[in-house]
Symmetry: C2
Subunit: 193 residues, 2 copies
């Protein structure tokens, strides 16, 4: 089960976020991040290739949390049902104690176009990995792609809501609401002409 | 109706794509692009801020083509039906004669991570604009966001298929197939637990 683990990397991440948020991303150096928690620049670079990576480190755990649900779906589950399971299992990556961290991280990313583009890239990569996982279950290309990309869209909407100021519901509850909204809309949609 | 217009910018775009594809994006300069069609660097920079922009120029016409359908939907149309109309009207931006251009453009973008991230950003911007358009129709925030992001996911899948080698069907037909697949999957999905 993918879960957020504390440790040196996590301490550096927390310190980096603190500095990015107070001093600004551009004006913070890797050395300053390391020194602020009594570590050396060398230790920093043992964990991260550059300061941007601090914001994206550990994202493979999100992919794993997401894929776990899809992989564990019964063989008779439809591609979209496998995706719904993926959304539920992804919630393991977003426990309540992570939300303050995620909120600061989002503020930093929102202020820097290059970081926003990187974040979008990571989301797109999730879509590709999820598509591959569905294909490996024997789902055809069109069905796998549509289910995975729809799932990533739902995930993106749910995540954006989860980090919103004032939001207190769990990720899983929000994701279920967003997914339910999609099913309700699609269920009453006019058929394709 | 948003349509692809020839002219100086289009000539520069075609020349740039040709050079990007044969010589490589990194190794092509704005001056070389301009000179290859008998124009000056100064003319180039009157149309584009930099060589990257050549690949994204005119994308506001895509946004307009897309939004036209959503804006023109009858007031009683559901948000997802307005999005389906947007997908149909977006087809105006992808006439058959544009496909060779789009294929080369995609090859260039696929080889450069920074260009890929920029392309994802433009797609995300379409989602935001479409959400705003639905909100302006009086649709609530959750419904507007879900419909728009789902629409952008369908659009992305359809576009990827439209530019694939060997694909000869019109964009509108592909988009209808992808959207139909989404409705079929959602229609038979297990309800949210």
């Amino acid at each position: 089960m993918a879960r957020w683990q504390p440790g040196t990397a996590a301490r550096l991440q927390a310190a980096a976020l603190e500095l990015f948020a107070t001093r600004g991303y551009e004006r913070t150096t890797a050395t300053e991040i390391a020194q602020s928690v009594g570590l050396t620049e060398r230790t920093f670079f043992r964990h991260f290739t550059d300061k941007r990576e601090v914001l994206f480190h550990g994202q493979h755990l999100l992919a794993e949390a997401l894929l776990e649900g899809a992989r564990g779906a019964p063989s008779e589950a439809s591609p979209l049902d496998a995706v719904a399971r993926a959304l539920r299992s992804a919630a393991a990556f977003f426990p309540a104690e992570r939300r303050p961290h995620s909120r600061i991280r989002k503020t930093v990313i929102d202020e820097n176009p290059a970081l926003q583009e990187r974040e979008l890239r990571k989301l797109a990569d999730l879509g590709t990995t999820l598509t591959d996982t569905l294909r490996a279950r024997g789902v055809d290309d069109l069905a796998a792609t549509v289910a995975a990309q729809t799932g990533v869209a739902v995930f993106g909407v749910a995540f954006t809501r989860w980090v919103r100021d004032g939001e207190e519901r769990a990720f899983e509850e929000i994701a279920a609401e967003v997914y339910g909204e999609l099913l309700a809309q699609a269920g009453s949609a006019a058929p394709v002409r």
